[in-house]
Symmetry: C2
Subunit: 457 residues, 2 copies
C-alpha cells in the first residue's frame, strides 16, 4: 500500500492525493438516501487524461477498485467507493475547452459544473439543455447517469445531447468516440454505450456536448386539476398538440404544498382552488419570437381548460422562476421532510395513470407514503417514499418497480441504478440480458476494477 | 448440409426456404457498387421471433454464417452473404403491430418498408421522420445502418428515432431493449449499441420508433451560389438562425445538372444564373401554422441573400416535390452516369469547405471525378467517385477518408462500413478502439456467426 501511495503521488502530485484520515467525509458517498458511506483508501485528483490513464494502469496492476467522482450529486450511490478503493475525482479537470459556435457544440472536461457551462455558453447565445435540477452537478456525472431533467421533454436527455467523448479504458488506453457531428455510422456507438454506464466501463476525460440557441421569449403556465388521473390523461394531448413545451411537469398537491411552504412560493392560486386540487401541471413554452409565444400561451391555456384544468395561471417571470427552482429542489424538500427514499421510475406516458394508481395502492397497503412530482411529458415519475421499516420499504419498492417494468417501463429514468437499486434491477431484468451486460462489462473491464459494486453484484 | 436444410425447413416451413439454384440472384448482394455478389447456401424467411431464434440456434450449432436482409437497399455490402451462409430475410415479418398515438410511437416488424410505415401513420397525422431517400428500404435496415437522410437535420437519424427493440442474440435468446419511453437509465443502452451494428451483433425482430406530428405547412427554397465555399459557410449560419430547417441540402452544379436532366426538372432558374452557379442550397421549412411559415420563408430568403446567394427561388409544391425526389435518386443518377463508387463521409459542418477543397484536390491529382451533394446541415457529404482503376480509386478513397478523420469526422455518416469500406475503417481507426469493438462483438457473438465479413476481417 505504501508503494501504491507513492506511485499515485508520482502520477498526480502529492498535493492532489488524499489518503487515510486526510480523506474528507464527502468522498465517502453521494446524495443517495439509502447507500451508506464508505471512506476510500485513496482520493486522486488528476489534471489530464494521461494522468487518469496512469492511475487506471496502476489500479489494474494492483486490482484496486476505482470509483469516478464528479460533483457527488448523484442519487443512486454510483459514486460511493469501496473502502479499499481509489476515488478518481475530476474536480481539477474543470475547464471549458471550446465553445464552437459553427458546430454548436462545447468541448469540456468532465468536472465542469452545469452552472459553469451555463455561464460559458451564455455570451454566445447558446445553451447546454440538460437541466437535471442541480446546477452544481458535473457534465461527467451527466454522462455517467444519462441525466435528464425538466427540459428533456423538448431537448432530450444527456444521451441525446452528448456527441463525443474522450475516455480512458480500465487498461489505461485513451480513446475518443464520436465527435462534433451528430451522425456517424462507422462501427458500434461507444459514446452511447458509455453514457449511462455509471462509471463501470470507462472514465470519461472529455465531453463534447450539443448546444442550442437560447430562445429569448418564455412563459410558464400553471394548471390545477381536481383529479390526478385527468392530469395524466392531459399529458399525451399536450404533446400531440405540436406546442412543443420545453417543460411539462406534474406536481401533486402534497408536494406542491411542501415546496411552496419551503420556498415561500406565492403563485396566486386561491385557497379554495388549492383545496380542490389533486395535482398541477406546469407547462413551459419558449419561442424566438414574442408574438408567436403569445399565440402559443393562449392556445395552451385553451387546451388545458378543455382537458379539465380548473383554472390556468400564466406566471410572471419571478414566480415562474421561483416555481421551477422550488420544483428542482423537490429532492431536498423530500429529504428535509424525512423521506426514506426517492425514486424516479419511468413508464410510457400513457401508462402513468394506471402506474400511479397501483403505486399508491401498494404504498397504502404498506402503510407508507408515496408522494411526488415528475417529468410528465417523459413518463418519468419521481416519488418520495416515506416508510421507515427497511424490509417493508424494500418490498414496496420492489412492487412499484415491478409494476413499472410490467407496463413497459424501467426502474430509473435518469438517476441510474447504481448501488441503491441494483438488487431490484438484477431481480426484475431478463437474465439473458443481464448476462449480456456482464459480458459487455467484461469486454471493457476484464479485471472488474471500475465501480465493482454498481449495477452488478 | 442435407440435415441443416431439413431443419431449416422444419423451422420456417418448406415454402419459406430457398436453397441452391432456387436462390434468386437478388439475395446475393445489396446496392453497393463495389461489393460483388455471393449466392448464399440458404435463404430462410421466418415469420416470428421464435423462428429467428431457432434459426440462430441452429446456425450457432453448425457455425453457419448468417446475414440479415431487409429490402437489400443498403450501400455498403452489409447484406452480402457468405456463399456457405444463411440469409435470414425479413420480407414476411412486415406487419405494423401498433400505431400508439398517446405515446407517439409505432411498433413494427423489421421487414416493414418506409412507404408502408408512412401509409400506416398518415391517418393518425403522425410520421416516422427518417427518410434515407429510398422508400422501399426496411425499418430493420434503418436499424442496421443507423440510416439518416434529408430530414435528419431537424429530426435526427435512426439512432434518435428508435426507442426500443426486440432482438435475437446469436445463441438464440430473444431480448427486448428500451421501450415506448425516450429516457431510461437502467443498465447499458443495448438499443443504441445494436443500432448501426450492421447485422453483426443481433438480429432485430421488432422495432419501436418515435413518431412526430405531420406539420401541414411546408415550403422549399432553392438558393444558387456562385461559390461552393460560400454555400458551406452559409450552413452554420442557417442552423444558428433558429429557423430549424427540416431540410438543408447542398447540390453541386454537376449533380444538379444530372438530376435535372434525368428527372426533367424545371425549377425556373434562368440559364445565365445556372451557368454562374457552383452549388445550390435547398432549404426546407415547415410549420403547423401557415402564417408562421410565411414569416419564416421571408426571413430565410433574406438570410440566404445576406449569405451570398445569387437569388432565392421559393419552389411551388410540385417543383419542390420533384426536386426532393430527384435529390433522393441522386445515387441512381450517379450509378447510371457510371460512378464507380458512392461515399458519404461526415465531418463537423464547419469543416465542410476545407474537406471538400481537399477531396477535390485529391480527386484531381488522381485524374478522377468527385461530384456530389449532401446533407449539409449534418456535415454529411455524398460524393460520386468516377475512377475506373481499382487500385487508384482505393488510394483516392483512402486519402479522402483520412482527411475526414483528421478533421474530426468519420468514414460514413449513414451508409455504414459494411464490407465495402472495412479495410479503410480498420486502417484509419485507433487500434485500441478496434480491439474494444472486437471484444464487444465477442460478447454478443462468441462464435462469430453474424455477418463475419462486415466491419472486421
Amino acid at each position: 500500500m505504501g508503494d501504491v501511495t507513492a506511485r499515485i503521488a508520482e502520477i498526480v502530485g502529492e498535493r492532489n492525493l488524499l489518503t487515510g484520515d486526510a480523506v474528507p467525509e464527502d468522498y465517502a458517498h453521494d446524495e443517495s438516501l439509502t447507500v451508506g458511506a464508505a471512506k476510500p483508501a485513496y482520493v486522486a485528483k488528476p489534471s489530464t487524461a494521461d494522468e487518469v490513464s496512469a492511475l487506471l494502469a496502476l489500479a489494474a496492476e494492483h486490482e484496486i477498485p476505482v470509483t469516478a467522482r464528479g460533483s457527488g450529486s448523484g442519487l443512486s450511490g454510483a459514486a460511493r467507493p469501496r473502502e479499499d478503493g481509489l476515488v478518481v475525482s475530476f474536480e481539477r479537470m474543470n475547464a471549458v475547452l471550446a465553445i464552437d459556435t459553427a458546430n454548436q457544440v462545447a468541448v469540456v472536461q468532465p468536472g465542469v459544473t452545469l452552472s459553469e457551462l451555463d455561464e460559458a455558453t451564455r455570451e454566445a447565445g447558446l445553451a447546454y439543455t440538460v437541466y437535471p435540477g442541480e446546477l452544481s452537478a458535473s457534465v461527467g456525472g451527466n454522462v455517467g447517469t444519462n441525466a435528464g431533467g425538466m427540459r428533456a421533454v423538448k431537448y432530450g436527455v444527456a444521451r441525446h445531447n452528448i456527441v463525443g467523448l474522450q475516455a480512458v479504458l480500465p487498461g489505461g488506453e485513451v480513446i475518443t468516440t464520436g465527435g462534433k457531428t451528430s451522425k456517424i455510422s462507422s462501427g458500434y456507438d461507444l459514446t452511447q454505450l458509455i453514457i449511462g454506464s455509471e462509471g463501470t466501463l470507462a472514465l470519461v476525460t472529455e465531453v463534447t456536448v450539443k448546444l442550442y440557441p437560447r430562445l429569448p421569449h418564455a412563459a410558464t403556465l400553471l394548471a390545477p386539476f381536481g383529479d390526478l388521473d385527468q392530469v395524466m390523461r392531459a399529458v399525451p394531448e399536450i404533446i400531440a398538440s405540436g406546442l412543443t413545451p420545453s417543460i411539462l411537469e406534474y406536481i401533486d398537491n402534497l408536494t406542491m404544498a411542501a415546496i411552496s411552504y419551503n420556498e415561500k412560493l406565492e403563485l396566486g392560486v386561491p385557497e379554495e382552488v388549492r383545496n380542490a386540487t389533486q395535482a398541477y401541471l406546469v407547462v413551459g413554452l419558449e419561442n424566438r419570437d414574442g408574438d408567436r409565444l403569445d399565440g402559443d400561451v393562449q392556445r395552451a391555456g385553451e387546451l388545458l381548460g378543455d382537458l379539465g384544468a380548473s383554472d390556468v395561471y400564466v406566471l410572471d417571470g419571478g414566480s415562474a422562476r421561483k416555481l421551477i427552482e422550488a420544483r428542482e429542489k423537490a429532492f431536498w424538500t423530500a429529504k428535509a421532510a424525512g423521506a426514506d427514499d426517492v425514486i424516479d421510475v419511468v413508464v410510457p406516458r400513457s401508462e402513468m395513470p394506471g402506474f400511479l394508481a397501483k403505486a399508491r395502492e401498494l404504498a397504502a397497503a404498506a402503510e407508507a407514503g408515496a408522494i411526488g412530482c415528475g417529468h410528465a411529458g417523459d413518463g418519468n415519475v419521481h416519488l418520495a417514499i416515506f416508510c421507515k421499516d427497511t424490509e417493508k420499504r424494500h418490498k414496496l419498492l420492489h412492487g412499484i418497480f415491478a409494476v413499472a417494468v410490467a407496463v413497459g417501463g424501467a426502474i430509473s429514468g435518469e438517476h441510474g441504478i447504481g448501488q441503491a437499486k441494483k438488487d431490484h434491477f438484477l431481480a426484475l431484468e431478463d437474465p439473458a440480458k443481464v448476462a449480456l451486460l456482464r459480458r459487455i462489462k467484461q469486454a471493457f473491464d476484464p479485471k472488474g476494477i471500475l465501480n465493482p459494486d454498481v449495477l452488478f453484484d
